[in-house]
Symmetry: C2
Subunit: 663 residues, 2 copies
Amino acid sequence: MRNHYLKRVSLKNVELTEGFWKQQLDKISQVTARDILEKFENDHEEGIMKNFEWVVEGKTGEHVGPPWYDGLIYEVIRGISDIISQNYDETLDLKIEEYTKKISAAQNIDPDGYINTYTTLICPNNKWGENGGSLIWQHDIYNIGCLVEAGVHYYLATGKINLLSCSIKAAMGMVNVMGEHPKKNIVPAHSLPEEALVKLYYLFEDDEMLYSQMKEAYNLEIDHNQFLDLATFWMNNRGVHHNRTSYPPYMGEYAQDHCKVEDQCEAVGHAVRASLMYTGLTSVGMAQNNEKFLKASHKIWNNVEKTKLHISGGIGAIHNEERFGFQYELPNNAYLETCAGVGLAFWAGELNLAYEDSKFMDVFERAMYNNILPGLSVDGTHYFYENPLISEGDIERWSWHSCPCCPPMYLKFMAALPTFIYTYKKDEIVLNLHMNSKAKIILSEHQIVVEQKDGNIPWSGNSTVVVTTEHPEVFTLSIRKPEWAKEYKVIIDNEAIETEEVSGFIKISRQWNGETKIRLELSMPVTKIEAHPYVSADTGKVALQRGPILYCFEEVDNPQGVDSVLSTEELEVFEKDIYGTVPCLKTSFVDGSEVVAIPYYLWNNRGKGKMNVWIRQDEKIGSQERREENTSFAAHSLGQMAEYEDMNEWENILYREWKNPNQ
Amino acid sequence: MRNHYLKRVSLKNVELTEGFWKQQLDKISQVTARDILEKFENDHEEGIMKNFEWVVEGKTGEHVGPPWYDGLIYEVIRGISDIISQNYDETLDLKIEEYTKKISAAQNIDPDGYINTYTTLICPNNKWGENGGSLIWQHDIYNIGCLVEAGVHYYLATGKINLLSCSIKAAMGMVNVMGEHPKKNIVPAHSLPEEALVKLYYLFEDDEMLYSQMKEAYNLEIDHNQFLDLATFWMNNRGVHHNRTSYPPYMGEYAQDHCKVEDQCEAVGHAVRASLMYTGLTSVGMAQNNEKFLKASHKIWNNVEKTKLHISGGIGAIHNEERFGFQYELPNNAYLETCAGVGLAFWAGELNLAYEDSKFMDVFERAMYNNILPGLSVDGTHYFYENPLISEGDIERWSWHSCPCCPPMYLKFMAALPTFIYTYKKDEIVLNLHMNSKAKIILSEHQIVVEQKDGNIPWSGNSTVVVTTEHPEVFTLSIRKPEWAKEYKVIIDNEAIETEEVSGFIKISRQWNGETKIRLELSMPVTKIEAHPYVSADTGKVALQRGPILYCFEEVDNPQGVDSVLSTEELEVFEKDIYGTVPCLKTSFVDGSEVVAIPYYLWNNRGKGKMNVWIRQDEKIGSQERREENTSFAAHSLGQMAEYEDMNEWENILYREWKNPNQ
């Protein structure tokens, strides 16, 4: 049924070649991945893997880290698998082998293939949160979901089935327990396992040899449809609390369990759980060709995109319970967890497979540059959990955290990034992300090579797309027109061609033969952005953007302060050295003092200090501090909303280019 | 349709006569009501009534207190109306007259009868939370609901229709705006107006003269069915966000707007909003004979009673958003707002009308003695907002608060208390609450007088019920058997009679003639209570109770500490002077030191200090501090849950008498 939908290119067939993102990925393989491993291995002195050893030893009463630590190390394995899939690294591979032995040994203690070290060590009577446990706290299903992902990615990277066998045993353990009566109504309290089981299903669907391989090596009889069935059961039983045996039986908005998925129309609750739930909903929806699921996902997406998305692509405005706020509740001191940005990007990528609309990848790109990327320091070893758009000077990236979920999530996102650049189906190749890269894609059994080169994203919108076919091939190349590129040119053979635009994609349909070079010129003006009038946190303020890059004012560049009123003078682009030369912006406050804005993702790399993204443009607006009061419920009602003449102009728009009301 | 259901006795026909509750009510009329008026009148220097004056003056940009201040003063009027209904007091009546003039003048500014001083003064474009306002913050509908209550109660107390005319105009203003298409889908963001409109509907249903009176005096054409229709619309449109024009359109669990009422099965969100929503749901359910509404209310009730009710009758465990926790999430440092206790009691009273089951009034009584009553100090001028079951010594009643919602809610509860004592229908009189009181009830057009006398509730379970009829009458007297009375005797003419017990009510069916004296003896042993094993906050602990009174350990009586381990010695009842003599309890800790427990409602009347309700009985359990960590999600999973042999014993029970596992 997948043929309706776009497909991703596997990591074996796509790579970043040079430039901004290649450098980021190199830093992550060379520095960050090793930093994360080292910090986990020395975490709480004992190190994260001690939990697995303790399970083997039969010890109880102690556990290193919170209950989701198993999941975090599996996430790291998944990320590293993706890295070594592209650039094999024996040290990293041996590390996974070592971990796999410990995981496998711990799993073998339980005849059901169950593995969650926290539950086994701390509350063995509460498996799956039953008998009055707390699935929300214990993370049993979530952790196994991460193990499934790890096994699948490690297998895809190396062809090794050792960790995959652990994934399958654990997944089968869930299949045996959960499902329609007489099995139990237990659903994940933290999403991710849904998408993981769909991946496991596809793995067998695509690779018939794998059955016999698993049978031979591990004596595992696998019916892979059961994995998809369980993921579907989970989706069908959100909001169905009858006979739920895990605790708490009603998990509410917090875990997107407040009503049936098809009745969900608003993004609510814990933003990481939510974004991963919606990702899984889309995956299961496509795998089952279930319109009900896909429509719900799309509806919730629109709710986020039009009312709950910060300008940085961050989601989850509220600190308490790390959750979504109400519509238009977009305070600048918001939570905006790095992990939630990753979840949002995954969800966008999945919806783009189902619906092929540039709006999804626009948000993906926004989150990637401005909510995820800031999560890592220039040195590659310091991390943000929260990504607010204002700082009083008290926020810093940490070296390590008591809940270090963001580093693994960052790692797995960056390592998977190449797979989001291109998608394809029968007669179409889609270029979703503009970055220097190369992909080999099979259309109708013939290989097509698509390459983006000579681009300087995110600093310039010009690049060359080279399409190479061995034989003449007829298909459509769809190139995403980013929302920030108000104008663009497509030049083939030195000639600007007329193109059709469908759902934000520039369509080039032709017979391709040999090598075709397409010169792409995307305009990248500096713009002042204003937010919907209902976003009272941003009334009378603007944010600065150029291409996909959001800018901010940092105290180190602006000792006179970062919360004054901007003049209407032009914004000048100039080069500045912030660990390498980057385009920055220069303008002035109304008092005439010069101000400098730098890319938001680079902030807090030059010491602590105040920072501000939304800067006052209207002198009548009070300073930030006063405005942030009561944001929780008073978001829209403090009487400071300007009188807009025509609200129709704002229909379905959350942000737009600032219009000077005095012109 | 009301004939299916029990009815309350109006305040004109029922009164407290002497003893514990009469003293409380006297204190409230003589001290607390005046204290509240004075504090509101001097609040924020300008005083609460300034808002109405400013509206008349056309001033904008300033408002005294938060947006729900209109509602609070209306609540005070309602409470005082109930007080003067029983004991007329000219000073208080003149105060209401004075307020009514100001309210009426402010209302007359708006041709639609709309009145919400906050919105008019601060954000006039956001009436009803439209145009990007925040109904959750503004409280437009809630405030008008309180005005409706105030007008109805003042009319019932005095026969005056001046304030009632304001109520009706405001209600008609809502009727004109909200409802089925082409009217607008706007529902209350804070419940209460639902029940208020049902009351207004009944007022006209029961009093045909009122139409012409309102027409003559105010030229108001009233179709009172519209009030019930709007309340019903509101109930039907919870969770229906399509075309919702108020902001935020989706108000979620916070305001019980996450799904349709008939799909709601779990108590969630803001506990005061929730309890008032469920009260209104029950009222509308009875008025419309709507089984769907009544069943939903009953289902949610069971969820609360079996999994979310603190031993004190408090609800709303979580400080953030003042909301319900998950099932069995009952931390001792819980929020348990006084107002939520009042809401719960109102809901219980309403469900008791529909279902006549002692379980409702058991909870009513529990909340009244142990969650509401503690809200007021012995001196009658200091108030608790939160009523946690443990204190580190930092909690004190305040003289006034930036959100002084509890004093008015306390006042209106206490003033309305007499109406909950007795209920009746065609051939039955129900005695719900045991307290010295007298009611005149008309059954089949004949007056019956029921009196409780010589009782010493809550300290003794013995009292006399006197039934007096003018003529021989056949009906059933149903006397609630409190859950704390394990044994009881009913003695008529010096003879213990056999009685039938139905749904927790002792049924005495006979022909009553002249005066019949019933001697009632309810046992009142001291008991140690234990909580369901899933309530990890109380693992290995007990709470002490005697009759309806919950006890606590206060530092002033126990300088050696209040968080030690109790011995299994007998609990001795002794008299102690705490602003009057009250029965207290004496026993010992395992170290042999003597410990004293006092009624919980009396705590913090002798200075600041530590306090504890749930005291360790099992030496293996760690001290309180350690246990409170991570209560939010780890409620049930810290591995400290004792191994219970038979969980079936706990089916449908949240609390039970402690069983010594060593016996």
